[in-house]
């Protein structure tokens, strides 16, 4: 009888043999004449482009337009005397974000690993060094600290009370109304007309409201389209197909005009509300299709097994089918949320001063005439950051929920 010592036999994957830089380049860049040609052409074009871009960014470009209007980009024409309310809102969001991070990461051995610490350090350095944020770094740096402290607290609390996750979700839900109160005023705060809502704050507010409204609606529509009841199925299908056949800008613009016409004479909901409704009605149809794809991917046996256990239709759906379907549909659903976030730019067409709209009105200012490239590049970076963060988050959730082997 022979014993196999761990040294002589290992089930680990074979060791990766490192390539030297020359060998790497030969394998990946110059493997044959065609690849070499491609490499040379791409390197040529891109170094030319990079040189042109750098020289433009350092000499021709006038970046002054960004720091001079940073407040406008962030909050639009929100009265500057009331900025503390926006800071309070940011503090709430930072605190909750840190808390959720801590609760989610309660089983991780070290919450502040080296890469996280480097990331936090980079954010702090950026806040201090980036000219537009430098004046308010005394407020922004404590926000970063708040995230870290809340994360540590959330981790402790999460270990002590495992059910705290529910309370954090509830806090997020309530924070939406707190945001509405802090931005819009009323109940003891100076009211701010929706005409003065704008910038990134409005973009985020409409996106979050749209997502919150379209998700339940899309879910219902998807279930309706898969329903065994013909009337429900036909109605859902008709709605989904009609809405998916129309451009969003038409829905938004006509929503501004037609929603008041559909209501009793004289009632005119606020135009931001009208825009959010149009946005949510539009996205719900697309979301319904994503959820339907998830529903179709759940094996029929799951449904039959639940039925044979004596569960009725709502419990079968809620406890057995939907959790599996939503898990499958997460990437598509988050993709839809990302496109909803991007679609908020269309609100600038119907005259709302969200991020792109405020960019347009800054460009209309004679002292910043022709600064298109600077402003649009800056806005593109902001949108990219948010969208990329969302897709990163979706990948993380997917990994967390992935129970297959």
């Amino acid at each position: 009888m022979t014993t196999v010592t761990p040294d002589s036999f290992s089930s680990a994957p074979p060791e990766v043999v490192g390539l030297g830089p020359v060998a790497w380049a030969k394998k990946n860049l110059f493997s044959d004449w065609f690849n070499s040609l491609l490499t040379v052409i791409i390197v040529g074009i891109f170094s030319w482009g990079a040189i042109r871009l750098t020289s433009w960014a350092l000499t021709t470009a006038q970046w002054q337009v960004i720091p001079n209007n940073f407040g406008l980009f962030m909050t639009g024409t929100f009265p500057s005397g009331l900025y503390p309310r926006i800071w309070a809102l940011l503090a709430i969001v930072c605190g909750l974000a840190g808390l959720s991070w801590g609760v989610l990461g309660r089983n991780v051995s070290t919450l502040f690993s080296r890469s996280v610490l480097i990331g936090l350090g980079l954010v702090c350095a950026f806040i201090v060094l980036f000219p537009p944020t430098r004046p308010s770094s005394l407020k922004l740096l404590p926000m970063v600290a708040l995230v870290a402290i809340a994360a540590a607290a959330g981790r402790q609390a999460g270990r002590k009370f495992p059910s705290i996750g529910k309370w954090v979700s509830l806090a997020w839900f309530l924070s939406y109304f707190a945001a509405l109160w802090l931005i819009g005023g009323g109940l003891g705060l100076t009211p701010v007309s929706t005409n003065d809502w704008g910038g990134l704050v409005l973009t985020l507010f409409t996106a979050v409201s749209g997502i919150a409204l379209c998700f339940p609606l899309g879910l219902l529509l998807a279930l309706g389209r898969r329903s065994a009841l013909p009337v429900v199925r036909w109605l859902s299908t008709a709605y989904i197909e009609l809405v998916r056949g129309v451009p969003l800008v038409a829905l938004l613009f006509m929503g501004q005009v037609m929603i008041p016409l559909f209501l009793p004479i004289g009632s005119r909901p606020d135009r931001i509300l009208r825009a959010i409704i149009a946005l949510a009605l539009f996205s719900a149809a697309y979301l319904a299709e994503n959820v339907r794809a998830g529903l179709q991917a759940v094996p029929r046996g799951q449904n039959e097994a639940a039925m044979s256990l004596g569960l009725n239709t709502p419990t079968t759906l809620g406890l057995i089918v939907l959790p599996q379907a939503l898990k499958i549909a997460i990437p598509a659903i988050v993709g839809q949320f990302i496109s909803l976030f991007q679609d908020t730019t269309l609100l600038s067409i119907v005259g709302l001063a969200e991020l792109l709209g405020i960019g347009k009105s800054i460009l209309a200012n004679p002292s910043y005439l022709g600064r298109y490239a600077e402003v649009y590049l800056f806005l593109a970076v902001i949108y990219w950051l948010f969208c990329y963060a969302m897709s990163l988050g979706s990948r993380k959730i997917e990994e967390k929920l992935n129970t297959s082997h």
Binding site: N28, L29, S31, N35, L38, T39, I42, V43, A228, L229, P230, V231, V232, L235, L242, R244, G245, V246, P247, L248, V249, A250, F253, M254, V257, M258, P260, L261, F262, L263, P264, I265, I338, Q342, D343, T345, L346, S348, I349, L356, K360, L363, Y372, A373, Y376, L377, L379, A380, Y383, W384, C387, Y388, S391
Partner: protein, 392 residues
Amino acid sequence: MAHDSGSKSFNLKAMLRDERFWKIAFQVITLLVVFLLLSFFLGNLNRNLIQMGRAFGFSFLLNPAGFSIGESLIQYRPNDPYWRALMVGLGNTLTLVAAGIALTTVLGTAAGVASFSKNWLVHRLSRIYVGLVRNVPLLLQLFFWYFAIFGALPSPDNQIGVLGLAFLNNRGVYIPWASSAVLAVLGIAATIGAAIAAFYLWQWRTKIRIETGAGGQTQLIALAVLGLVWLAIIVFGMNWTVPEGIEGGGVTGGLRLSREYVAALTALVFYTSAFVAEIVRAGIQSVSKGQWEAARSLGLHAGIVMRLVVFPQALRVIIPPMNSEYMNLTKNTSLAFAIAFPEMYSVATTTYNQTGRPVEVFVVLMATYLILCLLITLVMNQFNQAVQFKER
């Protein structure tokens, strides 16, 4: 008596427990709610329209429009009726959609295949392109192309010439074009016809080679002749006019693509191609690795494996989501209105502003885009059936 009432309540209870009853009841309630909501909305609409003094009707489409349109495929004068203005808008939308779909298919497929390149730079480039473009809103990209790129081109007096064949300035792009519209249509028809004929010739050649083992020389010669004939038609039959720069700025001859059109097309193609690239990538990835390995072990080289083995199988996965990307592109052409390109939506908005008839204009818009989307779906469904797995 007591017994009777007992059995009655028992029946009611039984009915309340019966799933069939609830199924019907639920549908009736849904229908009732939808009906009540609709009648509430439509009743309000009717009252509002009567109060505004505008009864529902499409007769206004026959009134003279009274606004001019910058570019149009068909003859249009400002005192033509509204329906003709809308047709002009539809024509402009269609040119955008047709060119957009053609270019998106090419660029998107290229970018998707490029992500499998052995060349590290090409692979990285494809990934960076997709990651950058998909995460920035289309409208922002549209403004960027229109104002920051095409708007920054030099003015006509020191325009850029490309090999003396095309010109670029901040008013638009000038390219060589057939001297008349009829010839241009004929040329496009000849190209499509030749492509279809070539496809069938190639299929015939493959079939003959499989069945008889013959070399297929005859078909190859026929293919070459076809190519030559097509080339002759295109080069000599089209009566090309080449744009020429005028002393002191400006261009004469050729076809002028307005800055609005070029910017809208570029933005749409760049944006949609990033999504198409992801679809193509996912499609190719869905083909199991064994197919690659089997084909390689038969001695086929990488290009042939991709063309004959992997791509046909990937097409089954690629076609259905492509349909929705083409539909998205069609609907997104409406954003060109934001840079003042006179497409369907832009003309419809002007019509609404002049006539104050939101409902009718919206119905026209909705019907137009729905029909366009349906047409695309129809064509793509045909295509989908052609590439589906053929089982017994």
